[in-house]
Amino acid sequence: MSLFDYKVSDLHELLHKKELKVADLVDESYKRIAQVDGKVQAFLTLDEEKARQTANSLDVKLNANPASNLLFGMPIGIKDNIVTKGLRTTCASKILENFNPIYDATVVQKLQQQETVTIGKLNMDEFAMGSSNENSHYQKTRNPWDLDRVPGGSSGGSAASVAAGEVLFSLGSDTGGSIRQPAAFCGVVGLKPTYGRVSRFGLVAFASSLDQIGPITRTIEDNAYLLQAISGLDPMDSTSANVDVPNFVSALTGDVKGLKIAVPKEYLGEGVTETVRQSVLDALKVLEKQGAVWEEVSLPHSKYALAAYYLLSSSEASANLARFDGVRYGYRTPNADNLLDLYKKSRAEGFGDEVKRRIMLGTFALSSGYYDAYYKKAQQVRTLIKKDFEDVFEKYDVIIGPTTPTPAFKIGENIDDPLTMYVNDILTIPVNLAGVPGISVPCGFDNGLPLGLQIIGKHFDEKTIYRVAHAFEQATDYHKQKPGL
């Protein structure tokens, strides 16, 4: 039994009753990391000394006064593209090997207000470009359920660390499925909030119109608490939305009577394995039993989402990654004769192949003579995809399908062909293009490998997503199973 088998609310209660100390929670993290991270390789950087100090000072505080924040003392892991002051932040890239941020991301500041304890920084695909963590410059994170398989990506370290019991929960980021796909592969809960729900200030930008930070947890309840802590308008991010942040946990009523579920036929079609399909149909039965109704619908432009996504995200990335030039921070080549040479060599030596490929694709799509044919066309297709969702949400409360077409694949299996790798994200990408929220919840196993159910909601309606996910979770025990590490 691990302390991290408890929910946040239970641990809070134990802290409150003085049956548990923050130091115990932090100790649990580092003990487990020492035990299993040699195999899982989820962490890039640990912050042990500071975390233990923080734990001790929180315990002193707790002795004097009861903890006011629910997340007080909870150990968290942070994806390595979210900047943390004084704590190395690499984006799993060589180009940021020695980068020590001089400020905290807004989400990190918000966690500090809640007095969580940062355990360390988590591995990812370089600059969040990838679906397997194989694009990390430093290490390949393994799937805790089968060490020969990928944890998914790009937030692979974030999902694997939670599944392996190394932290209570973590933050990831999702541009085309980077929270939901690894959550599905690792058997944990991962939410991509509505675009604009969570500030992106301090998230190293990949594709600014698609990126969102979100929580990865064991349970829906913990997920709702963590989202509560990081949400809200931020003057430092002009794309963060000026909308009320509701009480997400209040949505966990268990009541889904009369709820209308849409199941897109495109999400159960070609490429989706029979076991995955069946797990979704079984999940629908569970919800039906509780009074929800479901019908098949169509999101007719789904098949175009992948192409539109790669043009748009790569275009935005080519602009965002221009800042890594070897001048103000990051890697600088030792062999440059002049400034142009310094730019070109620093970038060539600092970026990995997938990042270079996407920068070039984006530069091409935005270049003179091709802009209308590729970039503008993709933006127009994005409008059609967004409209698909709007049409369905006129009649239905949520959309349900699988998170991924298959369970976790083997390390090395898809690495040689960028296009096969991209197909992994075919069910998650449309959600980012439309800007709506989506969650992945454990919904079964295929030969011991976890499967994820994707629940998609209306703009800013994370509450309904949580309500459905919670009702499903309470009726099943997939989330209680743990990998035999």
């Binding site: 794309t239 990051g330 920068i359 066309k377 297709v381 960028p418």
Partner: protein, 97 residues
Amino acid sequence: MTRISNEQVKHVANLARLEISEEEAEIFTKQLDAIITFAEQLNELDTTNVEPTYHVLDMKNVFREDSKEKGLPREEVLKNAPDHQDGQIKVPAIIGE
């Protein structure tokens, strides 16, 4: 028909300030050609009169008050600079002799 030539890949790499070898240019040409060919399926869709979506939320320009604010302290900023001197970031010569 190829969508992108070896010459174009080299041109794009130059625009993106990435040094690439002949060998890399060849690999990237093949891979980018496959991705662009795949992307051309978007042409199956008629998008006449469809407005492009640049941003999913109905948002207009967001302004803050035009007031003075302190920037990051210079010594902090220089901490991550690969080379600096007298409070300035240093780079190789820009203008030739």
